[in-house]
């Protein structure tokens, strides 16, 4: 009983000490949350999102970081990419010269998985590699900037999303080469030029 009473006393003491600092922390949290909500609301209210998909920007989209994951969308005649609450990077659909679709497969898990696989005895990691891969679509945009310079951007999308995105771009007036689906097969191409 004595011990319980002592514990209650300690708990009460802590409860009494907490509020002041807790209130400060809560206030700080609320302020930052309000600020971040404010940033998100800054999008124009009358914008119409035609298609929005989760994508990883591999390279080339000027202003966006390489290998950054964000939202790729078609909106108000532009192709937009936004990583989290970072600055939006966009290109008018009219400037898109061509859209290419492809598919790839990659190992999942990154470096930790690779290290883990290497640590598996008797070459067991290789067996894991057989199953630890994921297929995805790549969409390549070739577009012209205001200065006439040709740019290329590559995005990685979930399987099946690439075709949807390409078709939507085509419907919105972008030039799309229909015969551009070159599959990245894992066999050597026999007719290489020397």
């Amino acid at each position: 009983m004595n011990a319980e009473a002592a514990l209650e006393g300690i708990a009460r003491d802590r409860n009494f000490r907490m509020p002041r600092s807790a209130v400060i922390v809560l206030l700080l949290l609320l302020t930052s949350a309000t600020a971040s909500f404010g940033q998100k609301v800054s999008e124009p209210a009358n914008s119409t999102v035609t298609l929005s998909v989760r994508a990883t920007h591999l390279l080339g989209f000027e202003g966006a970081g390489n290998n950054s994951t964000g939202t790729l969308s078609i909106q108000d005649g532009v192709v937009r990419f936004q990583k989290g609450s970072e600055r939006v990077v966009q290109v008018p659909i009219a400037s898109v010269e061509d859209v290419f679709l492809g598919d790839e497969s990659k190992q999942v898990g990154g470096l930790p998985m690779t290290v883990g696989k290497a640590a598996v005895p008797f070459g067991g990691g290789r067996v894991v590699s057989l199953f630890a891969h994921k297929k995805y679509d790549t969409i390549t945009l070739q577009y012209v900037a205001n200065d006439g310079g040709i740019h290329g951007a590559i995005f990685e999308l979930s399987m099946g999303q690439g075709k949807r995105f390409r078709d939507q771009l085509a419907a919105m007036g972008a030039n799309v080469s229909r015969n551009n689906e070159v599959k990245q097969s894992n066999v050597e191409i026999p007719n290489e030029s020397k």
């Binding site: 591999l58 891969h133 590559i154 020397k194």
Partner: protein, 190 residues
């Protein structure tokens, strides 16, 4: 105590002398190096990177674009050129000392990351390109065959990055002729 102090003084003097001798050649070499870099700065070419020509290789558009974009990035990093222009960039028309970088894919072996992870010895992605730097009037000033590959770890597109890095490295190490404007200036000085 006195002996110790003398030894310490001698050691200090020796250290100062050694440091002075070690640094002196660098000090003397500095003006020459500065002159060289100034001359290099004045005689810098600009370069325009053309879109990659797939040649006869069955290479996907994403690879072509990846090579093109990586080349732009890597050439900028070398600081060998005054400016690096994209294909079609209008501002490049007024640049006097402009080289044009043409890249033609000669050989392409499509690989597989999964195959590499499972077998280690197969599934490599290999790229071989011919890189040419030409002047406005079509004179080739640099021509090399460069390879880029992913043998063990990493995605297939990494081959394009490795290739671009190798191209930039080769260009950086090569000797290019002096641009026409700096050659004219030198003649004028002579």
């Amino acid at each position: 105590m006195k002996a110790n102090r003398q030894v310490a003084t001698l050691l200090l003097a020796a250290a100062i002398m050694t440091t002075a001798f070690a640094h002196s050649p660098r000090v003397f070499a500095e003006p020459a190096a500065t002159q060289l870099s100034t001359a290099g700065k004045n005689s810098k070419w600009s370069v325009q990177v053309k879109m990659v020509d797939p040649g006869d290789a069955n290479i996907s558009a994403s690879f072509q674009i990846a090579i093109y974009e990586s080349l732009l990035g890597e050439l900028n990093k070398t600081k060998r050129f005054k400016q690096v222009f994209r294909d079609g960039e209008r501002t490049s028309n007024d640049v006097p000392d402009l080289l044009i970088l043409r890249t033609t894919v000669e050989k392409y072996t499509a690989g597989s990351e999964t195959q590499r992870a499972v077998t280690t010895v197969s599934g490599a992605t290999k790229l071989t390109v011919r890189s040419q730097l030409c002047t406005h009037d079509g004179q080739i000033v640099f021509e090399r065959t460069v390879r880029g590959e992913v043998l063990f770890m990493g995605g297939n597109l990494r081959a394009t990055h490795n290739l671009a890095r190798n191209v930039a490295k080769t260009i950086k190490q090569s000797t290019l002729p002096a641009p026409s404007s700096s050659a004219l200036a030198q003649n004028g000085q002579l």
